[in-house]
């Protein structure tokens, strides 16, 4: 996981550590509204825009890492 992405996830989800195995089930603050802020924060930091397909998939840390990887590698 890129360190910048890890930092964003920890900041926005208000947790001290996070791993690729985490999901909304393992992190209490990760509700649907917070998820939207998370997406906006990631897009802002990496200067990318996710496609609708990405957004539907990005429901775990692992999927978020993958989606960010896809969008940033196309630059």
């Amino acid at each position: 996981m890129p360190p910048e992405l890890k930092e964003i996830l920890q900041n926005v989800l208000e947790v001290d550590s996070i791993s690729e195995r985490d999901t909304p089930e393992t992190i209490a603050s990760w509700d649907s509204v917070r998820h939207l802020n998370l997406i906006a924060a990631i897009e802002e930091r990496f200067n990318i825009l996710f496609e609708a397909d990405d957004l539907l998939e990005m429901t775990t840390v692992e999927a978020i890492v993958a989606a960010v990887g896809r969008r940033t590698s196309r630059v």
Binding site: N11, E14, S32, V33, L36, I39, A40, A41, R45, L55
Partner: protein, 599 residues
């Protein structure tokens, strides 16, 4: 990390993630701040809490949020549920999305087919009035950001209106409506959206996916604007703007280039930019901010410079002058003393970083700011100073500079008069008591928030609290003073409680403009008269010392009260009442207004 460091780091690289990080770092700092409980009612997905918490903390408030149910704002305003009521909010923010209110209005709309706005405004008014009838909690509403696009093409509707015009007219109606509902204030989201790039205000993707009405990337900006309003609800605004002259009020150094060499007027840059700044300064003055000058200069030269035709700022606009070569902290101290206001009521502007540094060190209470480097930036800089934020203006505000002018003349008179009583008599002061009503409550609340020196208990009651007290039988009195120099407006306020044969003075405060004229005794006479009229055989007073009110420390003792208790926070005073304290014979109390039924 200090809170200051956290904000510096945040402002260097603001982002959603950085705000989240700052919110976590500020957690331990925020607990010392006074709590501000905000209920948010909205008809779209609006999760601004993190950014808003940070911006409130920056302005000295600890935010607690209660979010009402999605699109439940009508129900909550009409009949607040137990969750909202139990939360006991200090304020309510109603955030409405345009499409949420008008389903046919979005970027896909055209001006050829628009709904009726007036009816919607009336419905909204009814909701706000219904809430106001149950609660005095201040309510903030917002204007609507116009859709960034529309389907008008190059056309307008046959009446010449575009979709954009329609939304802006809706906003104007909303503003007018809000001024007519008590304690209801507007946060201008439309202007903020326009300033920050309207096309980005809404993220269409997030709107369609999850009804997110405002792009979360814009939350920091909106949060700052909201927090500004919340602070203005709690904190009095600065009272006096102290200005340097050279390279601040005008371009150039008058001592070097002479009166004809400075840039202060005309159609040419940079003179025109300085003239524009002067007009902005005058706009502040018309909002009740007093103007003063603190400049290291030759006074005669400065006087000559102020005679230049075409310079918007005139000598008569300046209430206090400190033009000499002494240190500026000394000038600021004198200005505050002569105006009878605290140093923390002063904002000082200077182009010289050394002067700013010196003032900040010597007088940390003064809010000192360095001017931007280019004069064309001055107006935006002044407009951005939150120190002058006010949610409401009273008629005293708009006349304040004039009132101080009257007071200055009086001070000159006092110096001339050898016999103090003769001076008091010469003023022909008339004191006009009036019970609080919708007409004067704005000024009364303002005095509660602003008065520091003659303020016996410094209880900062807000409008809601005062109205509650009056409903439960307390009397809230305002006092106007008129003398040979003119009408001073409402200069004092007192809140009287009555209980089992005794009256107690919860609050008694007087504007520093009229200190030293024995008005305080005349007002006490009136209050004791009220106590007797209500059948009270004794009257109780309290003095709670603060850093600023030592002036009235001996007030109750001097007026025949005996000490009846003392703690660290306050002393209590008691007096048996047969007759009210003697009113000074040079003050006439005009009771004619008391005969008129209120409201």
């Amino acid at each position: 990390m200090t809170a200051r460091d956290i904000f510096v780091a945040l402002d260097e690289r603001p982002s959603i993630s950085a705000y989240s990080a700052a919110a976590r770092q500020l957690r331990e700092h925020v607990t010392t701040l006074p709590l501000f409980r905000l209920a948010i009612l909205s008809n779209h997905t609006f999760d601004i809490g993190v950014a808003l918490g940070v911006e409130c903390c920056r302005r000295g408030l600890q935010l607690a949020i209660h979010s009402g149910g999605y699109d439940q704002y009508r129900q909550e305003l009409l009949e607040s549920g137990p969750e909202l009521t139990g939360f006991e909010p200090d304020a309510i923010f109603v955030s409405l999305d345009l499409t949420g209110c008008f389903p046919s209005i979005s970027g896909a709309a055209s001006a050829r087919k628009l709904p009726e706005a007036a009816g919607w405004i009336e419905q909204y008014r009814a909701l706000l009035v219904a809430y106001r009838e149950r609660s005095e909690t201040p309510v903030f509403v917002q204007t609507f950001a116009p859709p960034a696009v529309d389907m008008d093409g190059l056309l307008a509707a046959p009446n010449g209106q575009t979709l954009f015009d329609w939304v802006m007219e809706l906003n104007a109606r909303l503003r007018r409506m809000a001024t007519q509902v008590r304690s209801t204030f507007v946060v201008d989201v439309a202007k903020l959206a326009a300033l920050s790039n309207l096309a980005e205000w809404r993220d269409e993707r997030l709107w369609h996916m999850a009804r997110v009405g405002i792009n979360p990337k814009k939350f920091p900006l909106l949060a700052a604007r909201m927090a500004r309003s919340f602070r203005a609800l709690r904190t009095p605004s600065a009272k006096c703007l102290v200005l340097d002259l050279d390279n601040t009020i005008w371009g150039g150094i008058v001592g070097e280039s002479g009166v004809s060499g400075i840039h202060a007027d005309g159609a040419d840059y940079p003179g025109s930019a300085y003239a524009e700044f002067q007009r902005a300064v005058l706009a502040l003055r018309s909002r009740g901010v007093l103007l003063a000058v603190a400049s290291k200069n030759d006074r005669a030269l400065v006087d000559e410079a102020f005679t230049r035709p075409g310079m918007p700022l005139r000598p008569e606009h300046i209430t206090e002058w400190e033009v000499h070569w002494e240190p500026k902290p000394e000038s600021l101290r004198r200005i505050a003393a002569r105006l009878n206001i605290g140093l923390d009521s002063l904002v000082f502007l200077d182009d010289n970083p050394a002067e700013i540094c010196l003032v900040r060190m010597a007088l940390p209470e003064v809010r000192a700011y360095q001017m931007p480097s280019r004069p064309e930036e001055f107006v935006a800089f002044l407009a951005g100073l939150e120190d002058f934020d006010q949610l409401e203006l009273s008629s005293e505000d708009t006349r304040r500079a004039e009132l101080y002018e009257i007071r200055k003349q009086q001070a000159a008179l006092t110096e001339a008069a050898t016999d103090l009583e003769a001076f008091y008599r010469s003023l022909k002061t008339v004191l006009i008591p009036e019970e609080a009503s919708a007409k004067n409550i704005g000024r009364i609340v303002q005095l509660f928030q602003k008065t520091n020196q003659f303020n016996l208990t410094t209880r900062r009651h807000d409008r809601a609290a005062l109205e509650k007290r009056m409903e439960s039988g307390s009397e809230l009195w305002s006092f106007r003073a008129v003398d040979v120099h003119g009408d001073h407006g409402i200069i004092a306020v007192a809140l009287l409680d009555f209980e089992a044969g005794s009256a107690s003075i919860d609050s008694y405060l007087m504007s520093c403009r009229v200190i030293g004229r024995t008005l305080e005794t005349a007002i006490l006479h009136f209050l004791e008269e009220r106590a007797l009229a209500r059948g009270c055989g004794q009257i109780i007073g309290e003095y709670a010392p603060t850093a600023k009110n030592s002036l009235c420390k001996g007030f109750y003792q001097q007026h025949g009260f005996s000490p009846s208790g003392e703690s660290e926070l306050k002393s209590s005073w008691l007096k048996d009442l047969d007759a009210p304290v003697t009113c000074p014979e040079w003050i006439a109390i005009d009771r004619s207004l008391l005969l008129c039924p209120q409201n």
